[in-house]
Symmetry: C3
């Protein structure tokens, strides 16, 4: 029997509409349970009246969302493990209606400098974690302990790191045989590093704009648009929940799929997404996701999914088919990460504090290790905490893997951490020899650490190749540890650096 199943379903669809239309409409409309439909507040209805025409895309998006079909009151009636909101209660004002435009865009009006009068409502455009915390306070609090929440300041207020930014995206000029670098302007910074790290969004006052509804006074912002993970909001809060829970659907399905993490964790500096996609887990995901349930809360291992996504290991409430908790939901994603494996020359124990600008290494620089790899121990978690985090992660593995399997995997990962640190030490040694022999200029010469070709090759050894290899080892996606930006490129670049050093010496020798 060869029936094209896709076509079959469509034919069935047509047929069904005729026969059961009324049944469907009774059971299928936007009610939270099988009881009375949940409705938008009067304020939200007012928003919708115009915005359905003005910005139909986001209204439709919201209409397909869980927010549009459920009320906080209904959510609180659920068993605790099935809840998606962490507030124990919410005010009567917001409790009885679905979570619509007004519920978020008019929350906490006095805290938002950008609150403006919009057809009689005190509206703010930029919804912030403080607004989300009305219903999701635990998640907002946990999130604030991530390095991600400090992504803006950690990059821009750390002088070493901000120098890397300037040399990476600034504008070089060539004159008289010499290169100089103009720092990037704010649009370039927003378009590049701060797209993911977050911009500073500042309210610049209202401006008149002609719209489909006539001329209106509407807010103007600097640093806008942005949805970076460490965005500095007009109300002073940090981060954007929409970075992962994309407006205006706020879909748990989307947050659980790997594309969301991949928006910022895909490049050569942090190839987590690519490593996942080439791993056995990624293979299973790609082959079978169509059969999985990405909306179930709690998320049942084996039933709702058969291989982890990013969220499974780092964030979600995961249970066994009989309801035993495998891992609790967390929005402090590093609580399962013993090591920090990317973004710095050497892997090191995770920083204690999300604000890494406070760290001082033995060279006096705000880096978690010194140039020779020595960790700034007092700022980093200790072995006990590392063991605890590792155990939490291993518990997730245990849903499908024996302890022998898991231990073998983690032993290799620890080995990779150590070996790649040794390799970074080798590439650093070549750079230091260039400084010592006067053919390159570093910090000791009052020059940038990141502006010369040899320095940039050195940066790639740790920022690309050691990072890539560590991710490959952590998530078992071998390609990225061998030929795809892995050990091959590490070793090749080190060999090139050694030759490049000789060539620089040659050029400089004769100048003497």
């Amino acid at each position: 029997m060869d029936i094209n199943q896709g076509g079959f379903m469509m034919h069935w669809g047509k047929f069904f509409c005729f026969v059961f239309m009324s049944t469907l409409f009774l059971t299928g409309s936007s009610s939270d349970t099988w009881g009375a439909p949940a409705k938008p507040s009067q304020a939200t209805e007012t928003c919708l009246a115009c915005h359905r025409a003005v910005t139909p895309g986001i209204v439709s998006d919201w209409e397909n969302s869980y927010h549009s079909t459920s009320t906080p009151a209904a959510a609180l009636e659920k068993a605790k493990r099935e809840r998606r909101m962490s507030a124990a209660q919410v005010s009567d004002e917001v409790s009885g209606h679905v979570v619509g435009c007004a519920e978020c865009h008019t929350a906490n009006p006095d805290a938002h400098p950008d609150t403006f009068d919009h057809n009689g409502f005190k509206v703010h455009t930029v919804v912030t974690p403080a607004d989300c915390a009305v219903c999701h306070p635990t998640e907002v609090d946990q999130y604030s302990h991530n390095i991600m929440a400090q992504a803006y300041g950690n990059l821009n207020h750390n002088p070493v790191y901000h120098d890397l930014v300037e040399m990476s995206i600034g504008t070089q000029k060539f004159a008289n045989g010499e290169l100089s670098v103009d720092p990037p302007n704010i649009d370039t910074e927003s378009d590049a590093c701060n797209y993911c790290h977050g911009t500073v969004v500042e309210f610049q006052g209202l401006e008149e704009r002609s719209t489909g509804m006539g001329t209106m006074s509407l807010p103007k912002y600097s640093g806008w648009p942005n949805q970076g993970v460490g965005r500095i909001n007009p109300d002073g809060t940090k981060g954007s929940c929409a970075a992962c829970h994309t407006r205006h659907n706020f879909s748990i399905e989307m947050a659980r799929k790997p594309y969301t993490c991949g928006e910022c964790h895909k490049g050569p500096d942090v190839p987590a997404y690519k490593v996942y996609m080439v791993s056995k887990h990624g293979n299973i995901y790609n082959s079978h996701w169509k059969d999985w349930d990405f909306k179930a809360v709690p998320w049942v291992a084996g039933e709702d999914f058969t291989a982890p996504t990013c969220a499974t290991c780092h964030a979600s409430l995961v249970v066994t088919p009989t309801g035993e908790v495998i891992s609790e939901r967390t929005h402090q994603f590093n609580d399962r990460s013993a090591w920090r494996i990317f973004g710095l020359p050497y892997a090191h124990a995770h920083p204690k504090d999300a604000d890494t600008t406070k760290i001082k290494n033995s060279d006096g620089l705000p880096l978690p290790t010194s140039l020779d790899g020595t960790p700034a121990t007092e700022y980093l978690i200790d072995e006990n905490e590392q063991n605890k985090r590792r155990a939490t992660m291993k518990r997730v593995c245990s849903a499908c893997h024996s302890e022998g399997w898991t231990n073998g995997h983690f032993e290799r990962f620890e080995n990779t951490i150590q070996i790649m640190n040794e390799k970074t030490l080798t590439s650093t040694g070549i750079l230091l020899e260039a400084y010592n022999s006067g053919v390159a200029n570093g910090l000791a010469d009052g020059d940038s650490l990141f502006n010369e070709a040899l320095e940039k090759k050195w940066v790639e050894t740790w920022l690309f190749y050691a990072n890539s290899t560590r991710f490959s080892s952590a998530m078992a996606g071998a390609d990225y540890g061998v030929f795809a930006n892995g050990r091959w490129y590490m070793n090749k670049t080190i060999a090139e650096m050694a030759d490049w050093l000789e060539m620089l010496k040659k050029i400089h020798d004769d100048e003497d």
Copy 2:
């Protein structure tokens, strides 16, 4: 209730077949409307009689197509916005049958040099835009105004560009310490650049071939197979509609999905697909496409899809849920593009004419800017036209985004255009210094602009890194503007070029 939905559907399928088989067959067979089934012409039935056995794959593919279920007559009864064909009427001969093998492969027989006698029919193998224009004349006309339609000539008849082809894919020989380059043969050209740009397909006469149906006289072509966007067809027309509307399904779903554009717009020279996939839009697409309707005409924003694909912004007829037109269907894709951002050293206003070989810059070369970035203004659209195109594009954004959001986005893009042109000027400055100091040979020396290592690094600064950064900025996929072939590589390559220049000088100094 934990039901595996995949399994559920299959069980249901089995059950349903028993009970409702006859109903299904009545309502679900290939009829265009709920009326009488549309049938193939007698000629097409004759084709199918053999080809079902000889090339079953493409016959099945066609059977799943819209072409196989609809007639031009039925299409013309639809409301204008719902039509997929633009001809106001077609001849009686083709009007009443579905669009099958014979309708296309025997159209315009006298115009096709490759028309041959095939079992009593005058058949041509290579269906061309002129054949598609029988039903889709507006699309064929619009398409001809794309630079893409001229992709063969623009690459191969522009001496500067064809030199780039030869140096990029030709065969180097090393003898007596010197490299020389043999030009690529035609198979290499067809397999490389012309795979996307299009080959020259020429009818070489008939040859005897033994087939499943006995020995037959069948046509032989040079440049075959090919489905490049600027293919030069035997009938003199340009392009292949099958480049995007893949034979023999000609699926609008496929043309609207990003993989189609990705076939040619994915590499480091034009990474549109990769940028999209790492953008928020791409994330939404990947997470939610399974819930979208890719076949609806017109395409309803918010209902049929919740984030744009390539087609949404550049091609499709998009309407609001209430039927207001957001953007008209166009097959002149550049009518929303103010700038041309790839393929040339500097970004510049779009050329007026799709045939870019006519352009002359101030250096007398057929390039839209001179080597210092000065645009060949008279050949490029003016600011008014740029504003008009930008406004058309912004209208698409407005389905989901406020004007403040959209303006902020486009301001950054304009900034990127300017800054990346400045950076290209810097890398060009290093190359010119190499020419001036005699350590490299350029056009003024009667040598290729693209054959030496330093020149190839220079090419990468604009062809890969500036292009990638511009796409990243245009489509908000930050990775490709920073570490993934973006500003990092731009700046690193420029730093390497500066050192390389010194090394070349060193080598040449002592030679003097």
Copy 3:
């Protein structure tokens, strides 16, 4: 009529459960046919009793598998073309129950050194091809003729190749201006090359572990975990069927999807997956796979799928809609490959024997060609065999393509093979000149062929760029033959090598 089909199905699901629940349960439970349900053996039930709680993920995974719903006896009742098992019969012991934990993990107990007593059962953890061969002997035998089955030894027992491993993933040290290389430790080898090639898995005895079921004696292995294609198993067999048929679902759907091959065939050295994804075939796959049937046996071209995946061309039993065989199922994947196009400096006719360590070229090295490209003919298949394999592959193409189309495609591929070999000869010439002039050290100097920067650039010309171009040509994904690691990079690297040679000479000249 705009119905969200996804939502529609869910409403329908709810409704259906109410009305037809009993019907469903009668027809839809885990029975292999419409008769009595197939059940696990008593031994498997015993396993499940604990493992449902201890490793719920893999139990659920198995429960969704074909193995859990079908018995060998039922399989043998099927028509031959519909069978998934190749054994003509199996013992009564295993015939009547579904294929569960015990059937595989207690098979051939005496052959497995790691068999241990586990709650009264003689269990081994590492299931090997010898166990799978109980039901799938033909597949296991065919697989053993792949170079893949010898992937461990071919890499690690070939001194030239193992030197490449050591230089690629070993740890460089920089001292006194010189680089040296420490060989990789076993964890690094397992985590890198041997992840895909396979590790040596050795039983190290039992160790006590505290588990959810109390303290137990459980096996410990070196080289574990691993599922590489050439894994050396404790019982001496080679390979892991789970490399492609992922535990514990063993899904034919997954093996037929390209992600499975992509786990190991995605990197720059073997970019088959990436080439596929950018090809027309990959585009069709990505756009339409949701409408395909990946489970049908045999696999019907045009009906079950409309474009090939990796499996279609290299492995699957493919038939026409009328049941004519297009290609037989094979697990000797190279039986359709005339050339070996990757992993070695030059493309060459496929080796006769899967164990390539036996080969000796005219230089006396265990390589299929000498450094100038001359093939070690006696170890390679002859032209007749090449023609036979090419014909088998072309037969697959013929399901959708005319002979003219297919011939044109293969002519270009043959041209690419020849031209890329010429280019490799050019890059080899530059390296030899470096050896001859004493600025680099090769085998003749008692030094590695792969440790210096110039040598690593040479390796990239063939291991990355020539390979990538050949895959691009073989599978019509042009990007990877031009700018994405294709001819552009080949030519650029050769130009760089020529300059690098001059620079090395410069450095060394003055040393003299």
